[in-house]
Subunit: 374 residues, 2 copies
């Protein structure tokens, strides 16, 4: 195996595949990147931690075909520090070692037998569709942070992706808050409604690997695995088998008051009050009047905070609700207009956050009731 | 106690004093900042972890004199998030609590009795002098990283500062490498030679607190403490009582070869080879020929790296030395000219690194001998 490649191209590809490199010690070969040079002048990089697999295809000047697995961390540290320009990569197939040569450098790294590198799972595709890459990224970024981090709730550690002939919906929840994003769009390739729970990490990687240059992302869903193809990158991931709760049950179909408020003003006020809230259980109390929202928090002995924010309320005033301050800040971070719309249904129902002119994205925070604690 | 102050002024002062705030739980009051408002319109902030004390004096609109200790972390989080403009700070002296009020915010924080805050030590000044702030900062930044991190070598966890009527010298070593900086200058206030070991942390803080606007730093040394005054900030610190080795013994008074090399080229080559070196004991071998330096490292089974760098050697060629790669990188980080001067005296003597035209700053790396290991 022997090829020449531009340092920059190789370095960028290694950065991308590094995400799937395993750091566990049980299977040392997973700390490596599988490099395959084929006769068509392609260099294919594969990395996997058995949960997610990342494959990248690059153009290279292949002199001799072959395969090798090289420790990913060491390889990318060397390639990162090499000067810009062409480097030569050649493998001693009997020793499983690779030489990296430039004008003034000579490196040798020992690797692993390529035959022992696990194959990525086949995806038994049942549904596939394409989507504008930036739209997909926007959905992922507005939803993924609401997944549960608790291993005891496996079904909630991912986001539920539902595709139908005319819409894509992504939902994530940890039962205390929920992010829901539904995009109406014609999906001519989709024949029937299909659902899958995609691990949070997979969504993060897919969103992160989308370049500004990428126009489309191609999504394939099977019964146990899914695959995302974007530019030269293919991500294969297992799906989560757990149960996803019936989220529609929690979605309010009405509200008793609608509030419009400056996102910046609200965010700063919540941030300030949460300096007090986090001294205790992170709870803030919101009191809505017709044109004023009062946000308060008490940390028993340590202190107290109170903020007032101008609002515009239509509907029933004088409502109050207690919520976790960090959940509200998370929502304010992803909402992307100058003002935010809040919908209220009393103190024992969730508070809803949306962009002013749209119901596509809905972010729900459950109230903290006197008898409940997280 | 009651004063008005600009949010920005208060915030910047809290950032500066935060460095001395203790996070230990044994004396909760040390997590606080002592605030004192006096009749001359000064607000004085004091923070200490008993090793180092930072005092800041600000102008404020003092309505009522008084003292209070307020938890530093909570106070600075609130002040940081407040909008720019004037804030009002008022203390309930019987409750030891403070109210922070702006147009739309009202915060209350409970504090500690100011009488219980430890007094900063008196410094029995034996020597004092002034120095240009940027010169002092340069000395500290070029020396401090060579201090030992090991509690078992107390005397080496600081830098030795020696002042004489005509020079200031700062030295730090962990016995494997040494940084030495001597500045010749008239110090009219100094009557006789004086030495003190200053904790690394104190030097870092002193260097960090120097603003671009600060012209001078005023240094006072006593038998157990020292004090640095720069702008509105006063740092008081204990001195280290341990022994400092006779560093002059290690300083070579001659060399057998002088090497001039591009700093950037050398640094990149060492960085690349150290990707291999750090897989093992971080050792690199330098082989000097008349116009070529070869840098090599072998990590037993894992790999090998070799780099060639063009050099300019005068004196005895064909010398080689083994050193710790990270020590060389540390030196290359602080040397500030385009080329570096190396001085060699064979493989069992230290290698010296300097700026080309000056002997003010000398950085020494001990060789790794076959029988020694760190």
């Amino acid at each position: 195996m022997k090829f020449k490649i531009q340092q920059k191209v190789f370095h960028n590809a290694l950065i991308k595949s590094k995400r799937a490199i395993s750091t566990s010690n049980t299977m040392p070969i997973l700390s490596g990147v599988l490099l395959e040079a084929d006769e068509e002048g392609n260099l294919v990089l594969t990395a996997t931690d058995l949960e997610i697999g990342i494959v990248l295809k690059l153009g290279a000047d292949v002199e001799k075909m072959g395969k090798i697995v090289i420790p990913g961390d060491e390889l990318s540290s060397i390639i990162r520090e090499l000067p810009e320009g062409t480097l030569e990569f050649s493998v001693d197939q009997s020793e499983y070692s690779a030489e990296i040569i430039t004008e003034s450098s000579e490196f040798m790294l020992r690797g692993f037998k390529p035959e022992e590198f696990p194959e990525l799972p086949e995806v038994d595709i049942t549904t596939s569709f394409s989507l504008e890459a930036d739209k997909f990224k926007d959905m992922v970024d507005k939803v993924k942070f609401s997944c549960s981090k608790k291993a005891s709730q496996p079904g909630l550690t991912g986001a539920l992706l539902t595709v139908d002939t005319d819409s894509i919906t992504m939902v994530a929840t940890n039962t205390f808050r929920m992010a829901y994003y539904k995009r109406e769009m014609e999906l001519p390739d989709v024949e029937e409604k299909s659902r899958a729970i995609i691990p949070q990490n997979t969504l993060s990687e897919a969103s992160r690997l989308i370049d500004d240059e990428d126009d489309e992302i191609y999504v394939e869903m099977g019964s146990n695995h899914c695959r995302f193809t974007c530019g030269d990158v293919i991500i294969t991931s297992r799906l989560i088998e757990g149960k996803f709760p019936n989220y529609k049950q929690v979605m309010p179909d009405d509200y008793s008051a609608e509030v419009n408020v400056s996102k910046r003003g609200l965010r700063q006020a919540v941030k300030r009050v949460s300096t007090i809230a986090r001294l205790d259980s992170n709870v803030i109390e919101l009191d809505f009047d017709e044109d004023l929202l009062t946000i308060e928090s008490s940390a028993s002995e340590k202190g107290h905070g109170k903020e007032e924010v101008r609002i515009n309320l239509t509907g029933q005033p004088q409502q109050s609700i207690k919520i976790d301050a960090s959940y509200m800040l998370d929502g304010l971070k992803v909402l992307d207009e100058e003002s935010v719309r809040l919908e209220l249904i009393g103190k024992i129902n969730p508070i809803t956050m949306k962009n002013p002119g749209s119901d596509e994205y809905i972010y729900l925070i459950m109230p903290i009731r006197p008898d409940s604690s997280e």
